[in-house]
Symmetry: C2
Subunit: 490 residues, 2 copies
């Protein structure tokens, strides 16, 4: 197999004997009931032209679509909205996709970001046909991905055929960020050979068997970037509470003596938290980001020289953030590495670096179970993404969110979560604008007491306290009154 | 630091300048509110004399006790029953401990077997004082563990002081089984350097700083061994259904072309399943056990030359099984490796070997959420143990259990689990005596249909079906009627 250059620089976009087709021709060659795997994570780096061509196809399509993370409107609005998608994995991110999922017109299966590549390639999740990926350069048997990696290497290995969208809007310099490493197939899989979050263990390109290539489509379209609201008072209070916790934690353990490895979930709160990190005094320690997504706040920290390095699988940036990145890719690449999600979110690698993982959710219950996907246990919002990877494998796991939503009308601390994405075994610390509940080592009822006292909003704490007092008349390890807990959600 | 021999053979039990004390003297030197970490996993290899001496102490004790797995009656009946234990982690296994936990007279916190060592040493779960471990030999700065490893290396590193119970009833030859490897502290932790389930990467002994040793107590007491019921008709039907699934799965994927790596949860059903493996035709493939506990059925397979090798952290054997092992330790050691639980249950290592993990539970719900710890969501049975390690990280995850209990009066397939230990994102396949529900790639409602059809008992399937039909009138991704689901549990 012809391989691309092992590393930099690739100076042209099209190499060797690679010819291009138009998106409509590519689309029409995809079987109407194909299983299609796409690139895309954090709303960037997803294919745009072929999904649009599929969306406007006059054929009767019933595709299975697998993306490992958040993709843009061309897929989750136009294509999903066209009715062409019968089945959809994994994280979905538009109102259109959400509505179709909740009406069960699209069959949606929600998987963990770390393992969906293996599940597709080895685990029998689907029977893959075609991969469609976005790239900034391509040659015979290799391409260089664009703004995200996600599960691209696994998807390319798993699919029978490959379409590459060569997006001229994405800078060729993005190659400097990528570190492509795909573990061998089990059971002869070696440990991921990484010992430092900033280490590069792979290549800038993804390899593929040249005979798989079914077509290259040229595009020139920007990603859907993120918009974040300005930090609210609650966000800032959460950041302050989190900062106080981190301060104490750095004092507590020799693990944090020289360096702190942090991960933050994506979103407006996550962005605010990353932004507020600047305010924190790390006492001369190295600050390292080992997470899934890089947001604007981290670019600020890199610019200020306050972040040692950042490892992720994608960058969920604002327009302004993406612009800033694009103009300085090679400078940022000195300290930023993008990895496939099976490395960035790898359970064993998260464990190695003793990560402090900070993720948000929809709600948590008094016993420490966390619901991050389904409102009321029923209505899907986005998906579990990589939150379970970090909640399960971080050395210290923090769930951070405002104690209420809808202007204070609804408590996000509830008696019982009716959909559990992260169990009571996984989360160590809860943070709201009200305070910090460090529940490590506590029994369920002790956890409940601390969560109500430290994290619930004063408007709701008395009712939660009264619930807890009443159920504690039971001789149960985890006392419940399900009927009453269900009333709460109404 | 003086180190013990890197490997075999150690021919005496007491080496160098190590003196012994009696258990009462050791017990009285432990602070009344100490945090005590013990060896023990799978009901074997736990300390016996010092716990009994603590149990009969006239002092007013309020100890925190941390064991990484199942220990015997000396701890979970005598010591816990004496009222000396205020707080207890993690898996508990006697009626006495269970009752005290459910009455909340002991504060119980339930952790995953893979990570409790790190949580104790690095994660701030407790502030450890004393480790008490059982050994078959000891010298200056080293000891050789007895019948289990569990989190012994982490606990010994974490504690300020160390007591070693030298149990002369346990054969010195057990050293041949052990492979002690303890990862370095994060964030400078390297990947676990293992590439084959039978590979030895460590030593037969655990090292410790000699000045930590507070005393050696000699004992001569057998472990609490397991008793298993004979396989029931349901067990055999489950084994047959599982066998059919494994047959098809071996055909499906190249991962299983040369070898199949299996893990089975402990218990009478697990033991029956391990026993029935003999009946399965693996088509010339290597059969490898990569799990947490070895039960009698695996010894049979080893004797028949049908098992390539077995890796675990302990052996939950019957009296007869332990006898058989003890008489032939060195022969079994050719194919059996005991590892610390942070290696045997390591998320990344389970992933490397593409394990098919088979675990039981209390119940599962129609959407695929699994409750393995709390009856009705309330009453603790044992603990999560290592089930979440394997359910979360196996390539293919199977939940196997009889569809009913109490002579058919109670369905173990329920509309909604009110305690979730393993989420809908984790389990791929459900097996009961009724059949197999392979839910990979299915949406929640599709899962429910298949689980009801293939796994529920005919006595309960119509009622589950009617529940599903009614809730499916909602426009929800996961339709629920919590009140009605709660009625079901009554």
């Amino acid at each position: 197999m012809t391989r691309g250059p092992d590393r930099l620089p690739v100076e042209r976009r099209l190499h060797g004997d690679v010819s291009t087709v138009d998106a409509e021709a590519a689309a029409v060659a995809i079987d109407p009931d194909a299983t299609v795997l796409t690139s895309g994570f954090g709303s960037v780096g997803y294919p745009k032209a072929i999904p649009l061509a599929l969306a406007s196809s006059s054929r009767d399509l019933s595709l299975t679509l697998v993306a490992s993370g958040n993709v843009g409107d061309e897929i989750d609005v136009d294509l999903v909205g066209s009715g062409a998608i019968e089945r959809r994995f994994s994280y979905q991110s538009s109102r259109v996709a959400r509505d179709l999922t909740n009406r069960r017109e699209v069959s949606f299966s929600d998987r963990n970001a770390s393992s969906i590549g293996d599940e597709v390639q080895h685990g029998g999740l689907v029977d893959p046909d075609v991969a469609i990926v976005e790239a900034v350069a391509i040659g015979e048997g290799w391409f260089i991905p664009s703004t995200s990696l996600g599960q691209v290497p696994a998807f390319v290995e798993a699919a029978d055929r490959l379409y590459v969208e060569l997006n001229r809007r994405q800078p060729l310099e993005l190659q400097a960020l990528h570190d492509v490493y795909r573990p061998d197939a089990p059971p002869n899989r070696d440990p991921v050979p990484i010992s430092d979050p900033g280490e590069r263990i792979g290549t800038a390109h993804v390899s593929f068997e040249p005979e798989k290539l079914a077509g290259v489509v040229e595009t020139d379209t920007a990603d859907s970037t993120y918009t974040f609201r300005d930090p609210t008072d609650d966000d800032l209070a959460i950041a302050e509470n989190l900062g106080a916790f981190l301060d104490a934690e750095m004092e507590r353990s020799p693990v944090f003596e020289d360096a702190v490895h942090l991960q933050f979930g994506v979103g407006s709160l996550g962005n605010a938290l990353m932004g507020e990190l600047k305010e924190l005094d790390f006492g001369g320690r190295d600050v390292v980001y080992f997470g899934e997504l890089i947001q604007d706040g981290l670019l600020d920290m890199l610019d200020d020289g306050r972040l040692e390095c950042a490892s992720a699988t994608s960058m969920a940036l604002t327009d302004e953030g993406q612009q800033r990145l694009f103009e300085n890719v090679e400078r940022y690449a000195e300290d930023v590495v993008l990895r496939p999600a099976d490395v960035s979110n790898h359970p064993g690698v998260i464990d190695q670096f003793g990560v402090v993982g900070v993720n948000s959710a929809i709600e948590f219950d008094i016993y420490g179970n966390v619901n991050s996907t389904h409102v009321g246990g029923k209505q899907m919002i986005n998906g579990v993404g990589g939150s379970a990877d970090f909640n399960r494998n971080s050395l210290v796991t923090v769930c951070a969110l405002p104690s209420t939503l809808k202007g204070g009308e609804v408590s996000r601390v509830v008696p019982m979560a009716f959909h559990v994405d992260h169990t009571e075994h996984d989360v160590d610390v809860f943070v709201t604008e009200q305070g910090v509940a460090d529940v490590r080592g506590l029994s369920p009822v002790e956890r409940a007491e601390r969560i109500i006292e430290n994290c619930a909003h004063p408007e709701f704490a008395p009712e939660l306290r009264s619930y807890l007092d009443d159920v504690c008349e039971q001789d149960n390890h985890i006392p419940h009154d399900v009927q009453r807990a269900a009333e709460w959600h109404k």
